[in-house]
């Protein structure tokens, strides 16, 4: 592996085209191919040399990241004028443009209106360096104070927050064993257990915390906010069956309202919101009522509170992610819960979608297909599968625009096929050319007959 990398290092040489471009930019019109080659080798070597020197400055600066300043200092060592004005906030400051058969990377410089700058108030002065002392250890024992990291080993934390899949590995193994054994007695037992565990979760509809919170709400309702009250009255009048929805709305109101410090109420609230997302049944007639919208809404709410309140100490996000992933990985999960899980994960952002949903796509696709094509299915299941499918499409298409466009170009509007393409492209995107995608997607097309579900490409739930 290391060897491979070294060889790569060895062979990295700037393309001759860039030499030509640079020569043109300084007014040298036509450069021989040979001289380009010689130049690019020389330039590549010098750049490597400078990078190696810059690393020294990084080490002595006691940092892990190489900065533009390090490069400047390395250039200074070599008696080269440092580059001025290349301190970009962004990772890569270049923009890409193509047209007229040329591809171009350029440095975007926005036009700035001076009067705007003059009129805007001065930015806050950055905080000055300050010194703070705390006890790292007292007589060999590390005290549990906020200044010290929590006693959980860092590696553990890291895997928890970045790879929740690994954290729930035992469950996965369980699932695998079930699949191999088929519908044996043991699986039934497991199923029973799961049910036992699931049941209390969905039946206690109003916990003590929730009641406590209701009290808070009523107090808020009595307050001056007219709009809130109207919403409350409106929602409540729709029927007692949607009280979770009502609850969720209020939570959102409060989170949005920065005057309240909802932080201390966060933990009592989370179970309620999670219930709204993943509960098996939220209303009396799940086939008719639009409980999907409530799930979407609650998922968005959850994501928002994660963003606002998640810290390294409470680990809300990783805990929530773990909950969702666990349910998603379970074969026996109902469609409604499945939908909730995916919605919840999808709202948490691109990284989560990429690491947790995309890898599941093929499995989910197969499952959806089984329901859709299967002969005897209850209406509820069908609706559920339908919703899950469209949700997957929406959430992953944002992530993989390339794949989406490809599918459109290829005329695939069949969801399972699409899902397969997405899955494929996410895995192999770096390796294969776009042409390959086209070919493979056509192949998939031929396997799955077109159904023409054009309506899938709209976003039905966003505007509920």
């Amino acid at each position: 592996m290391a060897e491979e990398r070294r060889q790569k290092l060895c062979s990295v040489i700037l393309p001759t085209e860039s030499m030509k471009a640079m020569a043109e930019s300084v007014g040298v019109g036509s450069l021989q191919e040979d001289s380009c080659l010689a130049l690019s080798e020389e330039v590549s070597y010098r750049i490597k040399e400078i990078a190696q020197d810059a690393l020294k400055f990084m080490h002595h600066g006691k940092r892990r990241k190489l900065t533009t300043g390090d490069i400047d200092h390395a250039l200074k060592l070599k008696n080269v004028e440092p580059l001025y004005g290349f301190q970009s906030q962004e990772f890569i400051p270049f923009r890409f443009a193509s047209g007229g058969g040329r591809e171009l990377h350029f440095y975007e410089e926005k036009e700035v209106d001076l009067s705007d700058i003059i009129n805007t108030p001065l930015p806050r002065v950055p905080l000055d360096v300050s010194l703070k002392a705390h006890w790292l250890s007292i007589d060999g024992v590390q005290p549990a104070i906020p200044e010290n990291p929590p006693p959980v080993p860092k590696e553990q934390q890291k895997t928890d927050s970045t790879e929740p899949l690994k954290a729930v590995k035992p469950g996965q193994e369980e699932e695998g064993s079930i699949q191999t054994k088929g519908q044996g007695a043991s699986s039934a037992e497991v199923k029973g257990k799961e049910k036992m565990r699931m049941k209390p979760r969905s039946t206690h509809e109003l916990s003590v915390e929730q009641q406590l919170y209701y009290k808070e709400i009523t107090e808020a309702c009595v307050g001056s906010c007219e709009a809130k009250r109207a919403v409350c009255v409106c929602v409540c009048s729709q029927g007692p069956k949607l009280k979770e929805f009502c609850l969720a709305l209020f939570i959102r109101c409060n989170i949005m309202n920065s005057k309240y410090t909802t932080k201390h109420l966060l933990f009592p609230l989370i179970p309620a919101v999670v219930t709204c997302i993943v509960s098996k049944q939220l209303c009396l007639r799940p086939d008719v009522d639009n409980h999907w919208a409530l799930r979407d809404f609650a998922a968005r709410l959850m994501a928002q509170s994660c963003k606002t309140f998640s810290t390294t100490t409470n680990n809300i996000q990783s805990r929530i992610t773990k909950t969702f992933t666990k349910a998603l990985l379970d074969d026996k999960t109902q469609w409604t819960t499945r939908y909730g899980c995916i919605a919840g994960l999808a709202e948490l952002g691109h990284d989560v979608i990429k690491t947790l949903i995309i890898p599941r796509l093929s499995v989910e696709g197969a499952r959806i297909k089984a329901v859709m094509d299967g002969p005897v299915v209850s209406n509820i299941d069908k609706i559920g599968a339908d919703h899950v499918q469209s949700l997957l499409l929406v959430s992953t298409s944002q992530q993989h625009k390339v794949g989406t466009n490809l599918c459109r170009a290829a005329g695939i509007f069949d969801a399972p096929a699409y899902i397969n393409v997405i899955h494929y492209s996410s895995n192999h995107f770096e390796k294969y050319s776009i042409l390959f995608f086209f070919r493979s997607s056509f192949k998939i097309c031929s396997i799955f007959p077109k159904i023409g579900r054009r309506d899938l490409w709209t976003e039905p739930h966003r505007n509920d």
Partner: protein, 751 residues
Amino acid sequence: MTPLLSAPGKMAAVQDGPMELDTEKETKPEILSDGTSKLSGNAASGTLSSSPLTAGGAPKQEDQQTLIAVLQFLRRNKLSESVEILRREAGLEDQEDSQTLDGSGGGKGDRDGGEANSLLSRVSITSAAAPQSTLTPITVKRANEQLDVSVVLSAYSQQGDPSLYQVYYSGLKNFIESVLDCHRAELSQLFYPLFVHMYLELVYNNHENEAKAFFEKFGGDQECYYQDDLRVLCGLTKKEHLKGNEVLLDFRTSRFVLRISRDSYQLLKRHLQERHNNQIWNIIQEHLYIDIFDGMPRSKSQIDSMSGSFAGEARREVNKVKVFHGLLKEPEIEVPLDDEEDEAENEEGKPKKKKTKKDSMGSKSKKQDPNAPQQNRIPLPELKDSDKLDKIMYMKESTKRIRLGPENLPSICFYSFLNAYQGLTAVDFTDDSSLLAGGFADSTVRIWSVTPKKLRKVKSAGELNLIDKESDDVLERIMDEKTASESKILCGHSGPVYSVSFSPDRNYLLSSSEDGTVRLWSLQTFTCLVGYKGHNYPVWDTHFSPFGYYFVSGGHDRVARLWATDHYQPLRIFAGHLADVTCTRFHPNSNYVATGSTDRTIRLWDVLNGNCVRIFTGHKGPVHSLAFSPNGKFLASGSTDGRVLLWDIGHGLMIGELKGHTDTIYALKFSRDGEILASGSMDNTVRLWDSTKAFDDVETDDFTAATGHIHLPDNSQELLLGTYHSKSTPVTHLHFTRRNLLLAAGGYSSQ
């Protein structure tokens, strides 16, 4: 300069000593490679003695060779006056003419001639078989090395069939893989230097494609700890690249040292002679130094623990010089018995206390410690009254010191720098832990008072005139109350500050920076007193002597310099490292200086004569931290590879390896009594190690001492007493207070 000279007290008191040192000042030929014309000034004012690098071979002859090289350099630069002085002082008149023949090319500025000559000399060597007889060629080469880069490189101009290189190398590889296990490990050491030399030879002779193929084929075989060097090497594909590449020059100018048992060596020699493998034999003869020893071949782990540096292992004879590692005798200080004694201690208490004091001092420096240097071996500043007061404070504190051990771990107080935005580069505490200094990437130095006592400036000259100088509290009166604050900023550098060091008397602070200067700051006026210019490149580290007055600095120009605060030029230049000097430390007795380097070695230098007295190899990455044990016997070093190595200075041996950190170790410190070693690293942890056990476990019998083949016990886990994680705060500095409380410091980096 002026404010410093007028500074009261000791500067003047020690004038004599350093002046004497100054006249013996050396100018090492190595600095010629810096290519600075101002060197002529140095050369003219001083006489020469042997270069530390050449300490091994035939000193006399090498001295002359280096002298001649210097003469030629001076002549080329038309410094005829210096030439005359140098000739006269060295008494060279008669010999010189006959000797210059060897390297005359350089003298006339005619490179071709030089090349031809050196070539000739080389051709004549290659026929000589036995390594013992190659003394003359070495010295010839040394003289040449100093002359010109092109002459150095010309050693590669011998032509062989480039396509056969792979055959040669793989032939040797097959042979080494087929020999007995016990010899294989030893002979495997040959792979890396041979590989590099053969590759460079191919590159030098413009066989670019062959060189690349050679690298690809065998580059993967090399030991993993050479990875960084190989990365540099693989970038070199053209002859033009070789010029001005320090890494390559180092490899060329210093012969790679291998330690091989006689049996293994005979085996190799026989093989190469049978196969008429002259190409490889030539390289071994010319570029490698094989240190042959009698006895059992070493095992793979023994070899691995010592290898890894740029230039192979240290030659055994280098580490044979006697080092006075004992401590100096503490000056007798009359403790004023009548005042400052606690009421609790009555008549009974006083003599008792005095006795314990003597004991604690006596155990460290017995009246006649055989290993201690003479008290006046290095002229040290006289103690001022304030120093004596401080010593008394120190003794009082040390009676309250906690005795540490595996069962009694120190408490750690962590100072986090908040809002430093990754800009914190260096930290230092004063010995009494009252002040804290931080160096920052934005070129500033900041000083904090970590006690309730605020920092105050001295009043301006006009106001000082008004003060009654006879009053008792004059020291209090000269302070300007208006300037009192918890921290002060020192501005003056024009590049990131890479190290800071307090003087022992807390009156001065040193800072070194990317701008190539070391600055001395007054902590009375909070202004800069002197900028010491000498390093032309970034200065990575600087450190005050434990007795003050002297300090050492080391930087990217690959030399460490010894300075005295009242001289604007260095007193000593310690040249010999093959890459940047990354860290510098004074020995507790101030007679020696240890330097760690990017060439992955640690060197110990004698302050008296500037000689290199120890070379420690074994680190697999740049050395970034050093710490002497309080008794002066041991040295600990930490590097980017996350390992701490322990060294016995007296025997010149590696005696321990502490594994546990996962990133660069930037801070090392022994507790006041030396029982605990604390290490702080980039991996956000502070670790405590049982140093007493580490030093006790090593049995140094005569054999291991003689050969340097040490079996390292793999007991890092037993020695590790504690690991303390900080919250994403790399540990930049560690300090034990006088009562053995551990202070750690680092910049919090939010991510």
